[in-house]
Symmetry: C2
Subunit: 262 residues, 2 copies
């Protein structure tokens, strides 16, 4: 999973646990598939399998929404699709702006999953004047000078940041000042926002690193493990006296800017 929430430690929203909210979209997707196949009802067991979760967990999740099932039968697919959509707020229109139209921003602009769920790409914004006016995924890119105006005119409350890390906080500040209260951040930076603003972060690099950790562990187990526990530590051990790090020896790597040169 992309990484989690930032703000709001555990504010149980309207009694629905955060963990449950995060799974509702999963159920919704499975239900939509069933709906297309004209399946009238589905049992918690079947739906759980389709969504890849435990059936008891699914039933408990649904119990937070109300009693929408029928004992001995299961859940009415159409009805449940509507209830979950309503709970998630997908029955209304959510205009979204995407800031930073690099490779990733362009991919997001063309992502079908948005439009299909009540999300409407209201505008694409980029700081590069050369991009202004150029259509991406059928939508003309606008210059970031007009950011505030765009947000206000379209009543946008959700912003997507796909800029380099260096400018992400600045973009974030402008979005928030303009009235945006929910942000989906693809830039590899920790954004700080005032209370009342939600930030969710998707970090591609982090996901790979987590996979690498498990991969390494698996490889180690196969080899009998406990082979090279401490190896040769290159840098300074818990240095007693504080050693002044000699220049920026770390050379390569460095936290590369970001997702794309937007």
């Amino acid at each position: 999973m992309a990484t989690g929430r930032t703000h709001r430690p555990a504010t149980r929203s309207r009694g629905i646990p955060e963990a449950t909210v995060a799974r509702l979209p999963l159920y919704l997707r499975a239900l939509t598939t069933l709906s297309e196949r004209s399946v009238p009802t589905v049992s918690s067991e079947e739906l759980a399998a389709a969504a890849g979760v435990n059936s008891a967990k699914l039933r408990k999740d649904f119990s937070y929404l109300g009693s929408y099932g029928t004992r001995g039968v299961g859940y009415d697919v159409e009805y449940l699709v509507y209830q979950i959509s309503r709970e998630l707020g997908l029955t209304q229109d959510w205009p979204v702006v995407i800031v930073g139209i690099g490779n990733l921003g362009a991919a997001l602009a063309g992502y079908g999953g948005f439009a299909s769920r009540g999300f409407r790409v209201a505008a694409l914004i980029d700081a590069d004047p050369a991009m202004t006016g150029k259509p991406v995924a059928g939508i003309p890119v606008q210059h970031s000078d007009d950011l505030e105006k765009i947000i206000a005119e379209d009543g946008v409350s959700i912003g997507v940041i796909a800029t380099p890390a260096g400018v992400a906080q600045a973009v974030c500040d402008r979005l928030v000042a303009a009235g945006v209260t929910s942000i989906l951040n693809f830039a590899p930076t920790v954004l700080s926002v005032p209370d009342g603003v939600d930030v969710r972060k998707v970090d591609l690099s982090i996901e790979l690193q987590i996979l690498a950790f498990h991969e390494q562990r698996k490889a180690g187990e196969e080899l009998g493990e406990e082979a090279a526990p401490q190896a040769a530590a290159p840098a300074a051990p818990p240095a007693a006296t504080r050693t002044t790090a000699e220049g920026g020896r770390k050379g390569p790597d460095g936290d590369v800017p970001a997702v794309m040169p937007a």
Copy 2:
């Protein structure tokens, strides 16, 4: 955060809690930034602020790795960078293949965050013959017929799936059969894999839906809330006798294919 893990319920790997592993990349990024600025040591308080977490949590996380700090001083930045890198397995080379070179696949191929962390894009694979040979981000796209050969020759153990949802499971099966044991999935589908294979899922649409939920809640609170609790339920209520759903009335939407027509 992109969404979470799929397999491996809570297998505490080598004593390090899963939640801690997920935060290590965060710490590593903050530490790398400090390293570039030649900061020799950092306290848990400072580092925690930079990473956006609680300092007590950070200290506990580090305690799972060992005692790498010095009381009264803090942590040696260079040393900690190395220790975390080693723990995450980033000191070794991880060849990665990306399958499905649409907009998203191309964005991933050009993503700087990969190369900078020990991940090497070994190959780009797409099923479209028209793409074969075409360079994307400097790497020529190869045809999916050669998938097995590529995996074997380069010793790839990590695969990224950026294909439409419809073919994701098939691609996944081929990857696994060819020897891949870790998969990062961008297609909006639940992948089923044999034991021993890790799957992490990044679902852009789900993230937005979660934001919409909170956004809706915030909007509701402002209006005094409890305004339209039950509204007019359109579809069938917990139908007593099972109603045969009339055709595929659900019409619009439908779970759109995927990320890109790869």
